[in-house]
């Protein structure tokens, strides 16, 4: 692995050069929190954030997107809408990259979804190692402290400079054309290892009180527990835990038509399995009518169902759900620990 280095003082120039040539999005501050948004000047870009409110999935699976436009008269006609404008996503933490990698697999498996895949292909991802840990994060325990793929460049702040790991050829030429990197020395590379392990160590303060690989088995025999009802009695069915999760991708599809009743579009938008009508069908039957059944479904999906599909849990430990859930019942760490406790 060849590591490069750019001086911190050169970073603004690098960002500015990118802005000149590309649409650049990155993390910005808003009201004391962090959000991804369009970066118009290097000062706006924030790299020492702990965690964003909404994960970067919005770039590949937007909250609402048009699948196609239609005209219903004089002749039926449809025009697909697929966006593939190249852009740079600057500043993605490894756990979010891990989530994107998972989502890539979901949208490519079986019938591939080009609406997602084209957006994904158009993106250059510049990762950054966290320098701060959000209060509810536990990505270190989820094995998401580092990733080996899914980025074009990966930055690590080592004090006066950034170590840059090249993850793809596109990343390499982006770096060479827009910055003045020099090879990192062995010492500097070692420093990166040290910094990474220090931050992981801080993050490890939160995590499971038992090996996380036991979660699927734990779930396998927890289905009938009263535990779910007890927890879910506080659930607002607000879907917040779904919407802020980087590994949740369920969506609803609807038609919007203009007032002329001729032109319109079919759109998809974020949906959430915690919402009351998620599994409700036209006859009125609801396959997950109770709060408890929906609440349980989410944890099974994270810890067991997708594990069966992906051989990995569909949780990367960002802790977004935990900090966004108002009654504070969505935190996987608390939940699985409690469930395990209950076991004994």
């Amino acid at each position: 692995m060849k590591l490069r280095l750019i001086e911190k003082s050169d970073l603004d120039l690098f960002v500015q050069n990118l802005i000149n040539d590309y649409q650049v999005d990155g993390v910005k501050r808003k009201e004391g929190s962090f959000l991804y948004g369009s970066i118009k000047s290097p000062e706006e870009l924030c790299l020492d954030f702990d965690c964003t409110v909404i994960p970067p999935k919005k770039y590949f699976l937007p909250p609402e997107e048009t699948l196609f436009q239609f005209t219903s008269s004089p002749a039926l006609q449809v025009t697909p809408v697929m966006e593939s404008n190249p852009f740079i996503l600057f500043g993605v933490h490894p756990y979010d990259i891990k989530a994107i990698n998972q989502m890539d697999r979901i949208f490519a498996r079986g019938v591939p979804d080009p609406h997602y895949l084209k957006r994904r292909e158009a993106a250059l991802i510049i990762g950054v190692d966290p320098t701060k840990v959000a209060p509810r994060s536990f990505w270190a325990d989820m094995g998401a402290a580092t990733v080996s793929e899914g980025f074009d460049l990966m930055l690590t702040d080592i004090g006066e400079s950034f170590i840059v790991e090249i993850g793809s050829n596109k990343g390499r030429s982006l770096l060479e054309q827009h910055a003045k990197p020099r090879p990192a020395t062995r010492n500097e590379a070692r420093e990166r290892v040290g910094i990474r392990s220090r931050i992981s160590h801080i993050c490890k303060k939160r995590g499971f009180a038992f090996p996380k690989r036991e979660i699927p088995t734990l779930l396998e025999h927890s289905w009938k527990k009263f535990f779910w009802e007890e927890q879910a009695s506080k659930c607002l069915s607000c879907g917040t835990c779904n919407l802020v999760c980087p590994t949740c991708y369920c969506f609803d599809v609807q038609d919007n038509i203009d007032l002329d009743l001729v032109h319109g579009e079919r759109v998809r938008r974020w949906d959430g399995c915690l919402l009351h009508d998620f599994a409700k069908v036209a006859t009125g039957e609801n396959f997950r009518e109770t709060r408890a059944s929906r609440y349980r479904h989410r944890f099974y999906r994270k810890g067991l169902y997708l594990f069966r599909l992906l051989d990995d849990m569909a949780c990367v430990g960002c802790g977004r759900c935990a900090s966004a859930c108002l009654p504070d019942i969505a935190d996987p760490v608390n939940l699985f620990n409690k469930l395990r406790e209950d076991e004994k």
């Binding site: 009201e31 909250p63 659930c235 607002l236 607000c238 919407l243 007032l259």
Partner: protein, 246 residues
């Protein structure tokens, strides 16, 4: 297909919802092209009792309103409650928490006897209502959506999930993070979380979702420093007529 004949009516309200219909601007011209408006007192002279769809704004606050509403119900094939006053009782129900005689005296003093009033209520407390477009005021795009649904023979779909969903989609910072409190978790979406987006918090103007977890919401508000009285106040602001608020 014959153009559906549409009429607008109002009871105790601020008429802000009908104003939203006018505020459709150019789209309004399209709407009036697609339907035949036979009655719209706020914007036109003339009236007819022959209509298919009645959009009714406002709460019912006196016996004489009931007769008029029943008349409208008899004429209309479809009766739509327009806005929170009509759909939920809305802000008008704030007066229900006081003795009605006291209320009259407070405002009209010794002339109180001249004024008729009883506790405010939504339309559905008096006649069957086919659809409700909640909101104080209504979201004009939602109104347009309902009109289009009727034209297409579709059932209008008003969201049955809480405002938090749209709030997340709008990438707002949750107001609880900012030290305020919010009714979003139990309030029916459809407004695009506009209040939070504009820097305020959700007041609950669209009423509750079908299956709100009111108890949990009360707990959440209490954990964020609201007294029992304040929590009650939050629920009563718009949904005073419903049981959960009591």
């Amino acid at each position: 297909m014959d153009k559906p004949r549409v009429a607008f009516f109002d009871f105790a309200s601020c008429e802000g919802c009908q104003l939203q219909v006018i505020n459709l601007e150019e789209d309004l011209l399209q709407v009036v092209g697609a339907v035949e408006v036979v009655s719209f007192r706020e914007a036109m002279k003339g009236h007819s009792d022959d209509y298919d769809i009645a959009f009714v704004e406002g709460s019912i606050t006196r016996h004489s309103d009931e007769e008029r509403l029943e008349g409208i119900r008899r004429c209309a094939k479809v009766l739509v409650a327009l806005g929170s006053c009509a759909a939920l009782g809305g802000i008008n129900c704030l007066k229900n928490f006081h003795d009605q005689e006291y209320v009259k005296k407070l405002v009209y003093g010794d002339k109180a006897l001249l004024y008729e009033t009883y506790p405010a209520r939504p339309l559905k407390a008096v006649v069957p209502v086919d659809f409700e477009i909640p909101g104080c005021p209504i979201n004009r795009n939602e109104f347009a959506m309902v009109v289009k649904a009727f034209l297409l023979g579709k059932k209008p779909e008003i969201p049955n999930f809480p405002v938090c969903v749209e709030c997340k989609m709008a990438e707002n910072i949750c107001v609880f993070e900012k030290g305020m409190t919010c009714m979003g978790p139990v309030t029916r979406a459809g407004c695009g979380a506009c209040c939070v987006t504009e820097g305020s918090f959700c007041w609950g103007c669209r009423g509750l979702v079908d299956d709100p977890n009111a108890d949990s919401q009360r707990d959440v508000l209490a954990t964020h420093g609201l007294s029992v009285q304040d929590v009650l106040g939050k629920f009563r602001l718009y949904t005073g007529f419903s049981e959960v608020a009591k």
